[in-house]
Symmetry: C2
Subunit: 205 residues, 2 copies
């Protein structure tokens, strides 16, 4: 592209590094910013810098937090003996939105993916084992994506945790609520028949 | 959404103000930034702040520029007597990319749009009339989008400029190169028959 300004070109190049943002979208976003008030743009730029400088990882669950220990880990209302293991902070937010879970979390920071060069030592797995070994835990829920990487991580975590003699569970897989049977894939449908549950257990209360 | 951090929430809110970026996309972008190097994120944030603080409008053509007068207006190679009137800086870039135009530009900063409350006085139209009145101009090319707003602006500009007795032209409308006839809309196809050109003129040299 033929930029009329070096400043414009630099900023567009920075935006174009974001995932899913190409040169044209980046230019549109930057021109939009240029049309906004000075004060608003300063707030936008500074919020990014402030975030990166001041954000912390919770020292217990490794979730993104403002303090040394996140709100969930610090809350007296949460059951510290149930740990839900998730990939990243988006999963914590998704589960929190359901308002169905009252235990605490452990954020791995990713999934094991040999293709991308991510091994167990790149994730917060040792600290999970440490946590299970040193604190009172009555259940570990593995809530990982049903992908190749998720299953690999699931298998590895199970191997590392099974000797502690505590229940290790995974979230239920099956046909989504509102999902039509004829459009479900064979694996999900097949597994949902094998892992069928008593009717009374399937009702939302 | 249930954010685990106020800092995260603020930054996501800022990103979600960008056009075409919703809450979920904003979160994805911010988490991506969090995963990047400190230095890179600082560069990203600072480039936005620097852009807004230091960017200028060319005092001649109102295009976005680093200096008081943009490179095109300052260039000795450009024909200052041909002015191409465009909506915004993206159109300047698009025309520059064709490498077919060697005159100068006039950036209106938008199009007349009563629906959005944008009238002639909100655009750099007076300064265009001023420019035509005070400098030697041999042609004004109106290169505006073929939309309702574009046509309204075209008509208004024509009215303001026609008394100067200089040729006023618009870019050619018709079937795009590579375009198939059967998929063209009726108006474009109809007009392209009425405004047909001698074969020799239609060849790309």
């Amino acid at each position: 592209m033929n930029f009329s300004s070096k400043l414009l070109e630099d900023t567009v190049a920075e935006f174009a590094k974001l995932p899913g943002v190409g040169q044209k979208t980046a230019l549109r976003l930057v021109l939009h910013l240029l049309g906004r008030e000075q004060e608003e743009v300063m707030r936008f730029g500074n919020s990014i810098i402030k975030l990166k400088n001041e954000i912390k990882n919770c020292s217990v669950c490794h979730n993104i937090a403002d303090q040394q220990v996140c709100e969930i880990c610090a809350s007296a209302k949460r059951d510290k003996e149930i740990i839900c293991v998730v990939e990243d902070t988006r999963d914590v937010m998704a589960i929190e939105n359901t308002a169905q879970y009252f235990g605490v979390y452990h954020v791995l920071g990713g999934l094991i993916s040999p293709m991308d060069g991510i091994g167990p030592s790149d994730l917060y797995i040792d600290s999970l084992v440490q946590r299970v070994a040193t604190t009172q835990v009555k259940e570990v829920i593995l809530a990982l994506s049903a992908t190749m990487e998720g299953d690999t991580t699931l298998f590895y975590l199970y191997k590392r945790l099974k000797d502690f003699q505590i229940p290790i569970t995974t979230i239920a897989r099956g046909i989504a609520f509102g999902g039509e049977l004829e459009y479900a894939d064979e694996i999900t449908l097949g597994r949902s028949i094998i892992t069928r549950v008593p009717y009374e257990n399937s009702i939302i209360k």
